[in-house]
Amino acid sequence: MKWDEFFVTGDPLIYGADVSIVLTMAGILFYMTRYKKWKWLWTEWLTTVDHKKLGIMYIVSAVLMLFRGGVDALLMRTQLAVPEAKFLDSQHYNEIFTTHGTIMIIFMAMPFLIGIINVVVPLQIGARDVAYPYLNAVSFWTFFIGAMLFNISFVIGGSPSAGWTSYMPLASNELSPGPGQNYYLWGLQIAGIGTLLTGINFLVTILKMRAPGMTLFRMPMFTWSSLVTMVIIIFAFPILTVALALMSFDRLFGSHFFTLQGEGMDMLWANLFWLWGHPEVYIVILPAFGIFSEIISTFSKKTLFGYKAMIWSMLLIAGYSFLVWVHHFFTMGSGAAVNSVFSITTMAIGIPTGVKIFNWLFTMYRGKIQFTTPMLWSLGFIVNFVVGGVTGVMLAMAAADYQYHNTYFLVSHFHYVLIAGTVFGCFAGLIYWYPKMFGYKLNERIGKWVFWLFTIGFNVCFMPQYFLGLDGMPRRVYTYSEESGWGPLNMVSTLGGFMMGIAFLVLVYNMYYSFRFAKRETTGDAWDGRTLEWSTPSAMPPFYNFAKIPEVTGLDHFWRQKQAGKVEKLTAKDIKKIHMPSNSGVPFIMGSFFFVLGFGFVFDWMWMAILGGIGVIGTLIYRSFEYDDGYYVSVEEVLETEKISK
C-alpha cells in the first residue's frame, strides 16, 4: 500500500472535506476541553446503558447520516441536472451512489427507527429498561463504529463503488480492486452485529418485560410493529452476516464463492443479498407503520380501527417478506414458472398493505382530527405511500418488470416507499416523541413549513422519474446525452431534490429554535396521548422510567383512565427501591476495538486486524468476569425525583 492509495487525493472537494473534518475535530476538542465537558460526556453518554439515551444517540447519528447521505444525493442530482455534465466523473459518481444507498438504508433509516424504538418501546410496555441494557449499549456502539468506518472511506482509501447491492463479480478484487469494497463488507458486518443483538434484545424485552395486564393483544401498535420487526431481523440478519463473510473470504483470502474463477457462482450472491435485502425493506417500513398507527389514533382521538386486522396484516407481511426476494432479479432467466410464483407472492403483499391503508383511513372516520405536524406527516404518508405501493405492484408483474427493471421507474418506486414511508415515519415519530426525549415540543409553525417544503420537493423530485424510467433512462448512469431527451425532467427532479435539502435545513433550524425558545412541558402528556409512555408525571421520564410499574387493563389504558377521570396518583407508599443496571465503559471500548479490527481488514493489514480482534475478545472476557449486578435506587431518591413528599 502506497501513500497515494491511502489518502484520497486530487479532488478539491475532497481537500475541502479533509479541512472541514480536521477543523470540526479541533473545534470539538477545544470546546469540550474549554468547558470541561469530557467527564460529562463519558459518564452521561459514552458509558450509558439507559435505553432513552441510547435511543437519542441513535437518532442523532441517524440525522447526521441523513445529512451525509443527503449531500451525496444532491451531488448526484447536480450531476444529472443537465445532459453531459462534467461535475463528477464516472468513478466518483459510482462511489457516491453506492455510499448514498448504503448509508441511507443501513446507517440512516434503520438506526433512526431503532433509536425511536429504543426510546419508546420500554415506556410503552411499562418497563424500566430493556431486557439486556448492557447489550443494548454494545448494539449502539457496534452500529456507530460500523457507520464511522464506512464513512471515513471517502477520505481514506476511497469509497466502495459497486452499488449498495454489491453484485458479484463486479465487487470482486479483479473488478473492484483496493480497499473500497472492503469498507462496505466490514462496515456492514460490524453494524450488523449490533442490529442482530438489538433484534434479540427487543424481542425478549417485549415478550418478557411488559407491565402486568398487558397481554399481547393489548400492546400498542408501535410495540407490535417493533416486535414483528425484531422477528424479521433475527431471521434476516444472519443471512447478511454469512453473505458478507463469504465475500470477505473471496476478497481477502482468495476463496471462490462468487468469483468468475474457480466455479464461483455470482447468482448465489444476488440470492443471498436479496434474501436479506427484501426483509430489510420491511425492517425499515414496519416500525414506520407502527408510528403512523399511534399518531393517527392519537390525533383522531380514537382507538385504532381494526386493531386485530392491523396485527394480522403485519404478521402476514413479515412472513411474505421472506418469500418474494426473486422479484429483484426476474431478469436473471429463472424461467416462467419461478417468475410467475414470485410475481404472485409479491403482488400478494399489496393485499395486507392495502388493508392497513383502509384501516388508517377509518381510524380517522368519525374521529376528531387535529392537524398537528406529526399528523400532517402521517396524512402525507398515506397520500404519497400509495403511489409507491401501486407502482410496486406494477413492478411485481414480472413480464412488465422486464421493462422497468434497472430504470428510474424502480428508483422512483423505492423512494416513494422509503421516503414517504420510512422517512416520513421517522420525522413523524421524532416530532411526536420529541417532548419525551427533550422536555419540549418542536415549533409547530416551522414544522409545517418543513412538511410542505419536503413533501412538495419530494414529489417534484421523484414523480418525473417514473416517466424517465418509461422513457428508458437506466439507473446508475452518471450522465446522458442531449438527444435522449431526458434533460428537462431531470432538471425538474434536481430542483425538487434541492427543495428537500432546504426542508432538511429548516428542520435542523427548528431543533435549534425550539431548544432556545420552545415552551417547556410541565406534564408527561404533551399531546393528550393514549399509551403508557405519556403517563409519566414528569415531561421527561427519569432514568428508571416508572416509579411504580403501571397495571394495564386494556388497550389504550392511559386514555381510558383519563376519560374516566381515574388517573392514579403516585403516593409515597407506592414507592419501593428500584433496581437499575450500572453504567459501563466496556461497550464503548469494545466498539473501538471493532474499529481497529475493521480498519485492519479493510487494508488487509492482518497484524492490525488481529490486534483489534484480541481487543474485542479481551473485552468480552473482561465482561464475563465482571460481577456487577447493578444497584438500587433508594426510596428517598425516587421520592425526590418524583417530587413526592413523605
Binding site: E5, G333, Y365, L379, N406
Partner: protein, 325 residues
C-alpha cells in the same frame, strides 16, 4: 381543509393527464415489435387499475379528513368506533380480486415471452450470441459466421433468439423499443426472444451496473428487410477481416471500443457461457493489472483516456459522421 387537499388533488389530476398525453413519447410505451407490444399492453392495463386505486384512496382520504376535522360544532365523533367486520371484509376481498385480475394476464405474458412471438412462431429464429465485456458488446452470428462489436443488424418481422452471456460482470441486455431485458452472466447462458416489426435504428444498452464504463455500454440495433440483411451478412463474410485470438484477447481488456466487424467468430476460442474466467485469464496473459481507483496510476490513466476520447471526438467531427451504416 379543502384548501390543504387541493394541491394533492390537482397534482393527481395533472399526473393522470400527463400520463395519458405523454404516453406515446416514451420509448417503453412506443414499442416497435411484438415483445415490447405485449409488455406495453400489460403496463397500460395495470396503469388503469392503479389510477383507479389512487382515485379511491384519494377520494376517501379527502372526504374523511374534510368531514372529521376538528372544529367548532364538530359532529359525528364516535371514539368507540373501532372496527367493522363488514368494511374490513370488503377491503380484504377487493384487493384480492384486483390481484387476481393483475396476476392472470401477467402469468400469461410471462409464459408467452419465453418463446418466439405468436405471429412468427413457425419461422426459424435468427440466433445471435450477445456477449458483454467491460464495456462493449460482442455479437456473434453463428450461422452467418460473422461477428460485430457494439452494433447489430437484424431482419425485420423475424424472431431473433439472443443467447446472452458475459465475459465479466453481470450485465443486462436491453433494447427498450423491442422489449424487456435479460441478464447476461459469465458461465451461463440466458435466452431472450425479440423481434422488430419496423425498420429503423434502435438504441440498446447494458442496463445492469458494471462499473466505471457502464454509462457508455451501449449499442445500436438496425432492423432492415430480409434481403438487406442477407446482403449485409454475405458482404461482411466476404469483406471483413478475420477475428484473431490476439485481437479477441485485447477486446477482453476493460474499456470502450468503436464499432467493429469480423468475418469469423470468437466461438472458436471460447464460449463464455462455458468458461467464466476466460477474460480474467486473457487480461493476465496481456499483463493487465487492475488499478486501485484512487491511486496515482489510475488517475493518470483516466486523464489519458479523457484526452483520447476528446481527440476521437474532434476527429469524427472533422470527418463528418463516421457512423457508416
Amino acid at each position: 381543509m379543502m384548501q390543504r387537499l387541493k394541491p394533492f388533488l390537482t397534482f393527481g389530476l395533472l399526473i393522470a393527464v400527463f400520463m395519458l398525453s405523454g404516453c406515446s413519447d416514451m420509448v417503453v410505451l412506443d414499442p416497435k415489435g411484438p415483445v415490447g407490444e405485449q409488455q406495453k399492453d400489460l403496463i397500460m392495463y395495470s396503469i388503469w387499475f392503479m389510477l383507479f386505486i389512487l382515485l379511491v384512496v384519494y377520494a376517501l382520504t379527502a372526504f374523511i379528513v374534510y368531514k372529521y376535522r376538528d372544529r367548532k360544532n364538530h359532529k359525528g365523533y364516535d371514539p368507540d368506533n373501532e372496527g367493522s367486520h363488514l368494511l374490513e371484509t370488503i377491503w380484504w376481498i377487493i384487493p384480492i380480486i384486483i390481484t387476481i385480475a393483475l396476476a392472470v394476464p401477467t402469468v400469461k405474458t410471462i409464459y408467452s415471452l419465453e418463446g418466439p412471438p405468436e405471429e412468427t412462431k413457425d419461422q426459424k429464429p435468427l440466433v445471435i450470441h450477445a456477449t458483454s465485456v467491460d464495456w462493449k458488446w460482442v455479437f456473434t452470428y453463428p450461422e452467418q459466421d460473422i461477428e460485430t462489436v457494439n452494433y447489430l443488424h437484424i431482419p425485420e418481422d423475424r424472431p431473433v433468439l439472443f443467447k446472452l452471456t458475459s465475459a465479466d460482470s453481470m450485465a443486462s441486455f436491453w433494447v427498450p423499443q423491442l422489449g424487456g431485458q435479460k441478464y447476461a452472466m459469465a458461465g451461463m447462458e440466458t435466452k431472450l426472444y425479440l423481434q422488430a416489426d419496423e425498420q429503423g435504428t434502435y438504441e440498446g444498452r447494458n442496463s445492469n451496473f458494471t462499473g466505471e464504463g457502464f454509462t457508455d455500454h451501449t449499442f445500436d440495433v438496425m432492423a432492415m428487410s430480409d434481403e438487406e440483411f442477407e446482403k449485409w451478412a454475405s458482404e461482411t463474410k466476404a469483406d471483413a477481416p478475420e477475428l484473431t485470438k490476439e485481437q479477441y484477447d485485447k477486446l477482453m481488456l476493460p474499456g470502450h471500443v468503436k464499432e467493429m466487424t469480423f468475418s469469423s467468430t470468437h466461438l472458436g476460442f471460447v464460449n463464455h457461457a462455458d468458461e467464466a474466467d476466460y477474460a480474467i485469464k486473457a487480461r493476465e496473459r496481456l499483463g493487465y493489472e487492475p488499478l486501485i481507483p484512487h491511486s496515482k496510476a489510475a488517475k493518470e490513466k483516466r486523464e489519458e483516456e479523457k484526452e483520447k476520447k476528446q481527440q476521437e471526438q474532434e476527429e469524427s467531427e472533422s470527418h463528418g459522421d463516421s457512423h457508416a451504416h
